[in-house]
């Protein structure tokens, strides 16, 4: 069951990373004709991604929270036995960075949906970029830790 939930956690993360990367790059884009792949990737109606990103983040956060005890009991103990403290630090940072994104979601919703899109542009960019970085960090570090555990 835990393995299934870890895979589901990763799959939801992949969907989330796609959505938040589209929005995170789009929010910094100035209106201009679309040229090339990167521009097409960024030229999306970014506000429409907000609700799906929040939903995916909450689901992913919930899944991660549910399987966290398995990490503490099985994975973290193994990492400590092998003296892999840097890897433990990275995962400990992941738990705090996940909370940053989670607690920012209400503000993130406000600046995308409640404030006018012509207002608070820099704040909206900042909040979105923080959520983007949090999602990328958590997926990469989670994947790294999963691989390290497979090597032990």
């Amino acid at each position: 069951m835990t393995v299934f939930l870890v895979i589901l956690h990763a799959l939801v993360s992949i969907a989330l990373i796609g959505a938040v990367t589209h929005q995170g790059l789009s929010v910094w884009r100035r209106p201009a004709p679309v040229r090339g792949f990167i521009d097409r990737f960024r030229a999306v109606p970014a506000a429409g991604y907000t609700a799906p990103i929040i939903l995916l983040y909450v689901i992913d956060f919930g899944l991660g929270s549910y399987i966290y005890p398995a990490y503490v009991l099985d994975v973290k103990a193994s990492l400590a036995d092998f003296g892999l403290y840097t890897e433990i630090f990275l995962f400990q940072a992941k738990e705090h960075i996940a909370v940053i994104g989670f607690l920012l979601l209400p503000a993130y919703w406000h600046y995308w949906k409640k404030a006018g899109l012509g207002e608070f542009t820099m704040t909206r960019r900042f909040v979105t970029t923080v959520v983007l970085i949090a999602v990328w960090w958590n997926l990469v570090i989670g994947h790294l830790l999963n691989n390290v555990r497979g090597l032990l």
Binding site: L73, H96, I97, I100, L103, P106, Y111, T123, F126
Partner: protein
């Protein structure tokens, strides 16, 4: 909903409380996954296995944030509320700082 609660202020206050809770290691409760047991206090019994404080840090950050965000929305003048909302810029940094203080021993090779 946001007529009754300031969502940015919720983010600011919940993050600040979370950061303080991490900094001083004061979770609302602890969870002992080995025996699947919650406790409001730290139980000095090694047979219970490791205690998890992360859930308790999150849990302690939510109620005061709701109270302050609702009170702020209903009671504060708009200009002051906007200023407080702008503190959303410091959210990641206070949590990262508290997290660094709490976890740096791992990076320094000292264990948990």
């Amino acid at each position: 909903m946001s007529r009754f609660i300031s969502l940015p202020l919720f983010s600011v206050v919940s993050s600040a409380v979370y950061a303080v809770a991490v900094y001083v290691n004061y979770p609302l409760f602890r969870y002992y996954p080995l025996v699947e047991r919650f406790s409001l206090i730290d139980i000095p019994d090694r047979t219970l296995g490791p205690a998890m404080t992360w859930y308790g840090w999150i849990a302690i950050s939510i109620p005061p944030a709701i109270i302050v965000a609702v009170a702020g929305q209903l009671l504060l003048p708009t200009r002051l509320l906007d200023r407080l909302n702008n503190l959303v810029w410091v959210v990641p940094f206070v949590i990262l700082y508290a997290g660094w203080i709490a976890e740096k021993s791992w990076l320094l090779g000292l264990g948990g």
